[in-house]
């Protein structure tokens, strides 16, 4: 820092930033705290901030009622699997679009993105019938496949905007050297592309983890991920806030931790083009 900042200013900003951050984080904190309350304490009014009687009972109930680890495993396979398969398809496509663009490349991209704005529920029945005929209902293969396809437009678009920023001169130079294409890719392109690919992959893991329409409607007992796990805790009878909070905490914890550790990588790829 070249300019000196007065301590008073430092503290003002610090306090302000913490207040805003805590307000934004509060709903999550509240969920986690409620998970450790008894059902009765969870609806106390005025609310009890810290659990008056700390308990793990809700987590025990949730685990005995539904197998958390099975759902967790399914969520992992679907989100990571679909992101990896998506990359295998999207990287070459985005690469070609960025370095050998056709006339209407950008229009095609926008059209692809616009189809993503179509509400998924409109095509549920056709897709359900296709899945049924291919024997894909309630299989991880089917769910991974559909997640890949759903997020593909966004993946291609993100990678495309990222790849476009890679200076083409370097490629031309390496071509002069007579480097063959695969060398060009492995030694020149890939190292530069890694941040963009990582960021695309992370965003897709998050999106696939949280996708609740297809994963819920195309699964039953075997392939149901955490979104289905949650859907069994919004109870129509009796108090359920604490149990719901425990189930929610379990469902969001893995992705929250992944997100915390990778937030820098997550943005770096997306802002590459934006921050020359």
């Amino acid at each position: 820092m070249a300019r000196a900042i007065s301590p008073q200013k430092k503290w003002t900003f610090t306090i302000l930033a913490w207040v805003v951050a805590l307000i934004l984080f509060f709903p999550i904190l509240w969920t986690i705290l409620t998970a450790f309350k008894t059902e009765g304490d969870a609806i106390l009014f005025p609310p009890a901030f810290l659990p008056p009687h700390w308990t793990l009972e809700n987590f025990v109930t949730v685990q005995t009622r539904s197998d958390y680890f099975k759902h967790f495993f399914n969520s992992m396979v679907i989100s990571i699997g679909s992101s990896l398969i998506g990359l295998v398809i999207a990287v070459p496509a985005a690469w070609s679009m960025a370095f050998a663009p056709a006339k209407r490349t950008k229009d095609i991209l926008m059209w692809m993105l616009s189809t993503k704005m179509m509400p998924a529920v409109g095509v549920l029945v056709p897709i359900y019938l296709i899945f049924k005929n291919l024997g894909l209902l309630d299989t991880l293969t089917g769910l991974t496949g559909i997640m890949t396809l759903i997020n593909l437009p966004i993946m291609v678009w993100m990678l495309y905007t990222y790849f476009r920023e890679i200076p083409v001169d370097i490629l031309e130079a390496s071509r002069m050297d007579g480097a063959v294409l695969w060398k060009e890719i492995v030694y020149v392109l890939l190292p530069m592309a890694i941040p963009g690919i990582a960021s695309t992959m992370l965003l897709n893991i998050i999106l696939a983890w949280n996708e609740a329409f297809w994963t819920l409607n195309l699964s039953a007992a075997n392939a149901a991920p955490l979104t289905a796990f949650i859907a069994s805790y919004s109870s129509p009878e009796g108090l359920f806030w604490a149990k719901l909070s425990a189930a929610s905490t379990l469902a969001i914890a893995p992705i929250l931790v992944i997100g915390w550790f990778s937030q820098k990588q997550l943005v770096r790829g997306m802002t590459f083009g934006a921050v020359k």
């Binding site: 610090t14 509400p119 409109g122 966004i154 063959v180």
Partner: protein
């Protein structure tokens, strides 16, 4: 020369599978939707089938909820965009200052983005907005006001609030990273010239952020046009049609009426609307991405 030809060929070869898959994924559901939108097809009355002409479109477009749903869709999208972009810039500016414990603050701020929409909606509905036991009701009574039944009296506003809470972190993080890349020397130089904070912001920071803002708007719009889980969990589109958007209207046709034809017609209408939005976006994004 040979290398270039090879490169071209290989580029094509690499492009082909991806584009073919993409194309199939885009075109098959679209064709199916268009096909079904002209059919009489209700899951619960399988015996009554056949060509329906424009009947499904007629019913969808004249649905008493259609116009309100259309405006609600635009209202949700635009309001959340404005809140997250403006809020994101302000928060970004704040976090760009020297702050004790900045790492933790960043983690806290970004967290809502990782939460499943269903979970977010359930938590907001039950534990924050509930007029009898919620935190908001408690704050209201502490301040001497009567508790507000948020989802009953301000349904659309409540949904905008929930959705904005989920997307504000995303905008903040992108805009903050963009700000941090702004050349310190550039700011210094401007500061030396006697530019105050406001003009520094307007003439240096904001233009620099243009592309980051574009990225935020584009990605968010894709998701905001079809906001659904938040509405289903909290208000169910009501009271009346007060918080029904196009996506919810189509859901109603597909999974309450089980009217595949009607839902398909709705899907086609939604795609057309999305494409109109996309044309605007192309203009906006195109301009900023060319730069």
């Amino acid at each position: 020369m040979a290398a270039t030809v090879n490169t071209r060929k290989l580029a094509r070869a690499m492009l082909t599978p991806a584009v073919v898959i993409l194309f199939i994924w885009m075109i098959v559901p679209l064709l199916l939707t268009i096909w079904y939108s002209f059919q009489n097809y209700n899951l619960l009355s399988p015996e009554n089938t056949g060509f329906a002409g424009f009947m499904n479109y007629k019913y969808f477009l004249t649905d008493p909820a259609f116009f309100q749903a259309f405006w609600n869709t635009l209202t949700i999208t635009l309001s959340v965009l404005v809140i997250t972009v403006v809020g994101g810039i302000l928060l970004g500016l704040l976090l760009d200052q020297f702050i004790y414990g900045q790492g933790i603050v960043r983690i806290l701020v970004i967290s809502p983005f990782f939460i499943m929409p269903t979970v977010a909606a359930l938590v907001w509905k039950n534990m924050l907005m509930d007029p009898n036991y919620g935190i908001f009701a408690w704050i209201a009574t502490r301040l001497g006001f009567a508790p507000v039944a948020w989802l009953e009296n301000y349904p659309l506003f409540s949904i905008i609030l929930i959705v904005a809470w989920q997307w504000l972190p995303f905008a903040t993080l992108i805009l903050l990273t963009a700000m941090q890349s702004l050349d310190e020397e550039q700011k210094e130089a401007a500061g030396m010239d006697g530019a105050n904070f406001a003009s520094l912001f307007v003439y240096i920071t904001l233009p620099h952020l243009a592309r980051a803002i574009t990225v935020v708007i584009l990605i968010e719009t894709i998701f905001l046009l079809s906001v659904f889980a938040e509405i289903l969990v909290t208000t169910g589109g009501g009271p009346g049609y007060a918080s029904t958007n196009i996506a919810y209207l189509i859901y109603h046709q597909a999974l309450l009426d089980y009217d595949v034809g009607g839902a398909s017609a709705g899907g086609v209408v939604a795609v057309i609307l999305a494409n109109i939005v996309a044309i605007f976006l192309v203009r906006l994004v195109g301009k900023n991405l060319e730069a």
